[in-house]
Structure formats: structure tokens, C-alpha cells
Amino acid sequence: MTVRMVTKSVRFLPEESEELANLSKASSLSESALMKELILEGIRLKKLELAIHAYMERKTDLRGGAVMAGISFNRFLREIQARNIVVLENEDFLGELAFLAETFDSQSLRAAVERVRTSDQEDR
């Protein structure tokens, strides 16, 4: 099957054009090939940036972010972790611990949760 290529044109300032020519020489690529490489890399980075932004604003989850960025779940999680972005919040974390204490019958966890809960309430 033949793929039909599409032409896009971009206008550069003279100094930008010169910089592109210099880069082309230095990397032994034609200007056209170099531009294509740079644009594809730019698209990849922009998609990732938008996905990370959406994740930070809680507009998507890890999976949705990975889809937006066009990468795997594993890769997106690595990108999120590399930027120290919070993936887990739980307003009722003490409730989760209390549930674990009941489910696995841990008296020490049950008592610890009660003490932390009391201390949290006193701090407010």
C-alpha cells in the first residue's frame, strides 16, 4: 500500500534558517530530514507534556495519560515519577488502615489508627 505524504510549509526568520542549515551540516542530514526529525520529536514531547499537565490537574488518570501521550502505562508512570508528581491521595487513608486492621484482625493497627485520628482532630 502506498502512503500519501502531506507537505507542510513553515516560514523562518533568516537567523532561524541559518541555524537550521548549520545543524543540518553538523548532523549530516538534509534540512528536510532534520526538520522532520525535529518536528516528530517535538510532537512526542508536546503530547507527553499535555498528558502530564492533564494528569497533574486530575483531568485524567495514569492510563488516560499514557493514551494521551501515546506511550505505555509503564513508560508514563516513569515519566510521572521522574517529575515527582503525586499519584496517590486518599482523604480517608485512616479509614483504609482501619479497614485493614479489621480485615486482618490487627489490634496494634486498630489502636494506632485511633491515636492518629485523635491527634489529627486535635491539630485542626
Binding site: T60, D61, R63, Q81, V87, L88, N90, E96, T103, S108
Partner: protein, 170 residues
């Protein structure tokens, strides 16, 4: 006694990264959906030769018979495929959901699904004397960069309270 639990990719990957996965099987009989498995083992096309450690660990435990494939009857239409299946499986069977991603965790909670996160599991490990105080603190420290400060503070405070009760901390 082991509790049935539905596994989400977010829990497995982070639990594997900090090294607590082998402890899971003392507490949970873990069920996974095909969609979750696919997410855990998939790498990017340009990284094909790479096998992430969490993917390798998943494969080993699956071959070992410790991970059980179970599919939900009606996957939740919200969110991505993996989550939808993991949440629906937990909901349909009244199982625990092992999850470590904020939005789907909140959604699952609104459906009445009981959720367990990686920091919660680390506190449980210390409470049940599976790991030392130093290990518990180390795991929580590793989770701190991607977990809300308030949650980490509550997890650390719970660990400290248990340590005080045991005389391991003054």
C-alpha cells in the same frame, strides 16, 4: 487468612518498584484481568527488548500459580480498560481492590469498593510484624515523592504509634 483482591496495574507497578510484592500473597489471593496483565507487561514499541522488572515479576508469579486470571461480567464504562476491569471485578465479587492511582481510587470508593493502596499495605506489613520499623520507614520514604504529604504523614504516624506501643520507639 487470604482475602480475595482484584489487582490494578497502578498497585502492582509501584509495589514492585519498592519491593513489597512477595508479601502480598500472605494476605491476598490476587486476581487479575487480561487488560491489567497487558498493561503491566507492555513496553513501548521503541523499547521492545526491554522487560520492566514489574513485568518480569508478574510473569514469574503468574507461572508460579500465585496470580489468578478472572474477568468481570460487565466492565465499568468509565476510565481505561485495565481500571474498568479491575474495578468492576472488585465490585461484582465484593473483593478488595488493590489500587494506587488517585482518580480511579476515588471513583471505586464512591461505588462502595474497599480499596488498599501501597502505603496502606506497607503499614499493614509492619503492624503484622512482617517487616522491621526501619523497613517500613524506608518503604514509605520511597513512596513519599509520588504520594500526598498528608497521606505519608498519616502512614508514618501510624507506624510510629505501633513502634511506641512495642517499645521500639520512645
Amino acid at each position: 487468612m487470604q482475602q480475595d483482591a482484584s489487582l490494578d496495574t497502578s498497585f502492582w507497578n509501584i509495589a514492585a518498584q519498592i519491593g513489597v510484592v512477595p508479601y502480598l500473597f500472605s494476605f491476598f489471593k490476587i486476581h487479575f484481568c487480561e487488560a491489567v496483565e497487558r498493561e503491566i507487561v507492555t513496553t513501548d514499541p521503541n523499547e521492545t527488548p526491554l522487560v520492566f522488572p514489574q513485568a518480569m515479576l508478574f510473569t514469574v508469579f503468574k507461572e508460579d500459580g500465585r496470580l489468578h486470571q478472572t474477568e468481570p461480567n460487565t466492565p465499568e464504562p468509565k476510565f481505561g480498560v485495565g481500571e474498568a476491569h479491575a474495578i468492576s471485578l472488585a465490585r461484582e465479587r465484593s473483593w478488595i481492590l488493590l489500587i494506587n492511582d488517585y482518580r480511579p481510587l476515588r471513583f471505586a470508593q464512591t461505588l462502595g469498593v474497599r480499596c488498599v493502596s501501597v502505603p496502606g499495605f506497607c503499614v499493614l506489613l509492619y503492624a503484622t510484624q512482617r517487616i522491621t520499623l526501619a523497613a517500613a520507614r524506608g518503604y514509605l520514604r520511597r513512596l513519599a515523592t509520588t504520594t500526598s504529604p498528608r497521606l505519608i504523614r498519616q502512614a508514618e504516624a501510624s507506624v510510629d504509634q505501633i513502634a511506641i506501643e512495642r517499645g521500639e520507639l520512645l
